[in-house]
């Protein structure tokens, strides 16, 4: 019962997921809200909805709570989405090895992306089967980042 400080649930990496009408200035408005709250964006992606009328903007930021509050204050509908942030090698076959392992373990990857960081790659993986995916990747020796680690790595990167 004394493990609350290292609660694995609270330490999971989550993306901010923002509903966005497809009209000029929305991305600028959302990023302005984050900028004014001094929230650092580590990665972002726009997901198109059907019919080109709206989409969802996903942000990986260094401070979810403040980012969420800032976006809500600007009138956005925001939610958080748990993802796995996995460190992978930056070489041919790296993504294949990882996805093949997930496939063999019957893990369905809903969404995936990544960004380059300190000669490695951080893969952002969205799946319904987080626990199964975590077990598979841990077994293969992949490093799955906590939210604190994502933040720490980003700070290190910014100072270079």
């Amino acid at each position: 019962m004394s493990t609350h400080l290292t609660d694995p649930i609270n330490n999971k990496v989550k993306l901010l997921s923002v509903f966005a009408e497809n009209k000029p200035g929305i991305l600028a408005k959302a990023t302005e809200a984050l900028a004014e709250a001094h929230v650092n964006i580590l990665w972002f992606k726009i997901v198109d909805g059907a019919g080109d009328k709206y989409g969802v903007i996903r942000f990986l930021v260094d401070n979810n709570q403040e980012g969420m509050a800032a976006l809500k204050k600007s009138g956005f509908a925001v939610s958080t989405m748990p993802v796995l942030a996995v460190i992978a090698d930056d070489n041919p076959g790296s993504l294949f090895r990882l996805t093949a392992a997930l496939y063999e373990g019957n893990v369905d990857v809903r969404n995936g992306s990544g960004y380059y960081l300190n000669q490695g790659v951080v893969l952002i993986i969205e799946t319904q089967e987080q626990e199964a995916a975590t077990a598979i990747l841990n077994k293969l020796g992949y490093k799955i980042l906590t939210s604190a680690e994502v933040k720490a790595l980003s700070n290190k990167c910014c100072c270079n």
């Binding site: 509903f19 059907a50 009328k53 956005f76 509908a77």
Partner: protein, 101 residues
């Protein structure tokens, strides 16, 4: 009452469906345009959004299907961000008719 594509449509019918739909806000607007096109604009409830596109698409399809079944006219349902639609004092204008019939 409005007449769209030869069918009688009461805005209250559409309002009832929207109010019964989880995840939409209280504000809506029926926009008639073009030859005889009915666009139903509805705001997303800020607290109901779960972050997934599939939720939005499901909500849009559900509203479209229910309105079509109710009034016999297939609408174009547009989801808007919370607080987008104008809030007017007193009696809110729910129907805007810009048809070029």
């Amino acid at each position: 009452m409005i007449i769209v594509k030869g069918a009688n449509v009461y805005p209250q019918q559409i309002e009832r469906i929207l109010m019964e739909t989880e995840g939409v806000g209280r504000n809506y607007l029926i926009h008639l345009q073009g030859l005889d096109e009915m666009i139903v604009k509805v705001e997303l409830d800020a607290n109901a959004f779960d972050g997934r596109i599939s939720m939005l698409e499901g909500m849009q399809k559900n509203i479209t299907d229910r309105i079509r079944a109710e009034v016999q006219v297939k609408p174009v349902v547009e989801l808007l961000a919370p607080g987008t639609l104008p809030v007017s004092e007193g009696k809110t204008k729910r129907v805007i008719d810009n048809r070029s019939l």
